[in-house]
Amino acid sequence: MICPRCADEKIETLALSPVPGVWEVYQCQHCLYTWRSTEPLRRTSREHYPEEFRMTQADIDNAPQVPTIPPLLNQR
């Protein structure tokens, strides 16, 4: 299994359905995209995941800080 959004291979299981076997919630450990196994293909499959929502390493590296971390007072 790869991440639908960034294609990374490190995926962890975050939750299992209280009724056993109905669904699992997965999380990509690289871009942190989270999805339920029973969601539509456009959200769960790399092949069908929309181009405009895909995330690259550059997207992660260049994501703006919100809010910006201020300088430490004692280092001014």
Partner: protein, 474 residues
């Protein structure tokens, strides 16, 4: 009618025919969000939605769209569900003027029934989390009140803040939280982070409607949301002490999460479909660590769908944005008659005012941009005369069409501040701002030919009454 809990409010919605309970089994995705999306599209007076049969869950309960129509907003305010929009805003203003109303401290909150701490916390066990929009990075808490204190003045009740900020569930006990720089929690976080400290927070989920409205209202930094909630519901607001942080939190919540925003830490978050009708893009956002969770038995998860306006959030933040702007302007300029800032959280505002002298109206527009909310929103202001109702859009269009000459009536200010979520801002957070002065010029501003307005005939008022009577008799 003052509701102390979400459950009391749901009951009131039900009594008024404004709660649609859906018992057939649905999938968490895409059904819950699709239903909440659809309910905004099927006409006025959309009901709240309640789901309790969600595939794979045993005890899930989800409430959506509780404030998502003028009827629901009226019920939240304890008004008749048929109350039109403008009278709801007027009543909001009237109650606001009774601020502050001291809160009532209570013991034994319902959310004290269950407690989980530390690594035993798993938010997925407590709440039926689900995705809202296709491009969202994960599952969100988007209707919770977050309580924080001023780290340099922690005992100041007024500076304790209650605000609604989007939070992405990124782990069993980890959240991403968006503090917009113009919001009070960002000031708290800034003080903590420049000292290398964490910022403790208490997060209250599943609430009575008034504290939700207050969490979305841009009050002054030192104004207490709890004291304003008391004013708005015309009864002291019930609060209690959260066990870990010691913060004041709503007594009636379904769930209370306590922990910290971890100081000087950012991590990839989002995107999230936002109130602007656009996704936020991925951001490096703050990280919340949950250390204690307290919750009612079988808690109701309250969530909010948002997308291309109008959806629930536009009703939630509509009057809540108009009223503080009106009050803050009126305090300095009693000439201000009304403020309609219901469009995209006040990115656009329409203000009616009397004029002291030429140039006055646009000065009022400038002042709207420097109110606490205006600094991060109020990108465009349309100024109209005192006889134009800003809530009556055909009248506003008349003012725009007949009173504006672009040669002198557009005031454009370069590189002003706006929240980063404004999709037009470039770079994110920076935008030009615009005042369109659609008021009639007064001396010494003598532009245009406005000396001969067509007024309603003096006899028209009596005729209006006569015609109404004749129509009623038919």
């Amino acid at each position: 009618m003052a509701y102390d809990t979400l459950r009391e409010f749901l009951e009131a919605l039900k009594q008024n025919g404004q709660l649609l309970e859906i018992s057939e089994q649905v999938a968490a995705e895409p059904d819950l969000a699709a239903a909440a999306n659809a309910v905004s599209r099927i006409g006025d007076n959309a009901p709240a939605l309640y789901f309790d049969n969600i595939a794979g869950f045993t005890d899930a309960r989800v409430a959506l769209n509780t404030l998502g129509s003028w009827a629901n907003h009226a019920i939240a305010m304890g008004l008749a569900p048929t109350t039109p929009t403008k009278p709801q805003v007027d009543e909001f203003i009237r109650r606001w003027e009774t601020f502050p109303v001291a809160p009532e401290r209570r013991d034994n909150p319902p959310w004290a029934e269950n407690t989980v701490e530390g690594n035993a916390i798993n938010l997925f066990d407590i709440l039926p989390l689900f995705r809202l929009n296709d491009g969202d990075g994960g599952f969100y808490l988007d209707k919770a009140c977050v309580v924080s204190r001023d780290p340099l003045d922690p005992d100041n009740f007024g500076k304790q803040n209650v605000g609604i900020y989007r939070m992405e569930v990124k782990g069993k006990r980890k959240l991403g939280l968006q503090p917009v720089p113009m919001h009070d929690i960002a000031r708290h976080l800034h003080m903590a982070e420049e000292r290398g400290e964490d910022l403790p927070v208490a997060i209250s989920l599943g609430n009575d409607p008034i504290i939700t409205l207050m969490g979305a209202t841009p009050l002054r930094y030192d104004q207490s949301e709890y004291e304003m909630a008391g004013a708005l519901r015309e009864k002291s607001y019930p609060i209690t002490t959260a066990p870990l942080t010691g913060f004041d939190v709503p007594w009636g919540s379904e769930v209370i999460l306590e922990g910290v925003i971890e100081g000087r830490k950012r991590e990839i978050e989002g995107p999230f479909g936002e109130f602007t009708g656009h996704y936020s893009g991925g951001r490096n956002m703050t990280v919340v660590r949950i250390d204690r969770a307290s919750f009612r038995r079988k808690p109701i998860f309250e969530s909010l769908y948002l997308g291309m306006p109008w959806t629930e959030i536009d009703y939630l933040i509509g009057p809540a944005t108009c009223v503080p702007l009106y009050q803050q302007l009126k305090a300095e300029f009693p000439e201000v008659q009304a403020v309609n800032a219901m469009y995209t959280h006040g990115l656009l505002a329409i203000i009616s005012t009397k004029k002291r002298y030429g140039g006055f109206a646009r000065a009022v527009g400038l002042r709207a941009m420097t109110t606490p909310h205006g600094l991060g929103y109020v990108k465009m202001v349309i100024m109209v005369d005192e006889d134009v109702d800003p809530f009556n859009l055909p009248q506003v269009m008349w003012a725009l069409s007949a009173k504006v000459n672009p040669a002198g009536d557009l005031v454009q200010l370069p590189n002003m501040s706006v929240l980063e979520l404004d999709p037009g801002s470039s770079p994110a957070g920076i935008t030009d701002k615009l005042i369109i002065d659609a008021t009639t010029p007064v001396a010494p501003d003598k532009r245009g030919h406005y000396s001969q307005p067509v007024r309603d005939l003096p006899e028209a008022k009596a005729w209006a009454e006569k015609l109404s009577t004749l129509l009623a008799r038919r």
